[in-house]
Amino acid sequence: MKKYILIAIVSIFIGTAGYSQTSIYTLDYTMGFGTGSMGEYIGKASFRGLTFEGRGFVSDNVSVGALFSWATFYEARENETIVQDYTTLFGNQYRYINVYPMLAQVHYYFGIDPHKTRVYLGGGIGTYSVNKETQIGVWALEENKWHFGVSPEVGVLLPIAYATMINISLRYNYAVKTKNAPDYSWLGLSIGFAWGN
């Protein structure tokens, strides 16, 4: 009898472990660190950002989905000098970049048990709306452009309760240059909650 009870209990746990999720939603606080020419323009890290994702599983290890994100980069530069041809402009500069990635995504998960820690790799592709503004004196030079971009990512899901997880991810964003705008690139470190069913 004890043998059958033990088998039943083990079966229940095995059954739970074999349960596959159908979807995950994440809401993260996102920090940003500019790289390349974007890092030269604004050297300071961004601590204003949010990321929202929806992922649907197409197999035990693979999900597809979409991402919407926003981050603001800001840096004040005092007594900056701009020289262009025969003109020199001196003054404080207040530099801003607001970025809005909107991406389609694919993720692969190492492990299929939603109740255990899962590392995942993924990538996104889509559009980046980039709003760049440089305030000098009472003037503002503004540039609003749409960019094509890609975004490789590595992350981990840490279960904390039934169907609820902590999500940590590191994402590299690269928005390619356009005809009239430079490329933008930054690392995004996201920490937040994920929940699924």
Binding site: Y25, L27, R48, L50, F52, G54, F68, W70, T72, Y74, A76, T81, Q84, D85, Y86, T87, T88, L89, F90, G91, N92, Y94, Y96, N98, Y100, N131, E133, Q135, I136, G137, V138, W139, A140, L141, E142, N197
Partner: protein, 221 residues
């Protein structure tokens, strides 16, 4: 249904948060000070030994407003001190009227513009003096100013700003064919106006000093 509702709330909150964010920025009026200089690369400043500067300033204000004259002598004095420091000798008006001309002459303008919306370059045309047609200097009535550059861009401004503009030209470097006084050098101070007199004086002095500092070509360098 409950989960869908939760997701919709999150997406709506995210949409609100995604409104462009502009933290920080200028806090004090002098944070808005800019100093702009421009020169004609074809002009040889090495040949300049004498200058004349007008003893009065032309003022541009909003219609119905009274110009502020209390900084005029400070502006002229600051400019003169810097020209003197270049080793240039100042001409007085009597020398000019006697038929002698200085190597260069400087005229100064000051503008107070309230609630001005600007959308595109060139900056100066929209700062208030683009429509100002009085150019009756040294016997060239009706001449316009020939700006040797042109730029492009977009920006917006809605403040009360004070501007000091000085234009340096060579009396012999004038195009009579198209009635244009060609500029050799110009400087612009611009910023949000403050209420403190001593602070305003200091901002003007520092601005003019900076304009000369960033214009090493005046020394022939």
């Amino acid at each position: 249904m409950k989960k869908l509702f939760l997701n919709l709330i999150i997406v709506a909150g995210l949409a609100v948060a995604m409104t462009a964010c502009y933290p920080g920025g200028a806090e004090y009026t002098d944070d808005t000070d800019i100093i702009l200089t421009h020169y004609d690369p074809e002009y040889n400043f090495n040949d300049v030994n004498t200058y004349h500067i007008s003893d009065s300033i032309e003022h541009i204000v909003d219609e119905g407003d009274t110009p502020t004259y209390k900084y005029d002598q400070d502006i002229i004095s600051d400019l003169s001190n810097n020209f003197d420091a270049l080793g240039w000798e100042q001409f007085d008006l009597n020398d000019t009227l006697n038929g002698e001309l200085p190597d260069v002459a400087i005229v100064v303008s000051a503008a107070e513009i309230t609630t001005y919306n600007v959308y595109s370059y060139p900056w100066y045309g929209y700062w208030g003096w683009g429509w100002y047609k009085s150019s009756d200097y040294y016997g060239y009535p009706g001449y316009g100013w020939g700006y040797p550059w042109y730029g492009g861009g977009t920006y917006v401004s809605t403040y009360t700003t004070g501007t000091v503009l000085w234009r340096l030209f060579d009396p012999e470097y004038i195009s009579e064919s198209d009635s244009t006084i060609n500029l050799a050098w110009m400087g612009v101070l611009n910023g949000v106006m403050g209420s403190g007199t001593s602070n305003t004086k200091a901002r003007i002095t520092e601005g003019i000093d900076q304009a000369f500092k960033q214009s090493a070509y005046l020394k022939g360098e």
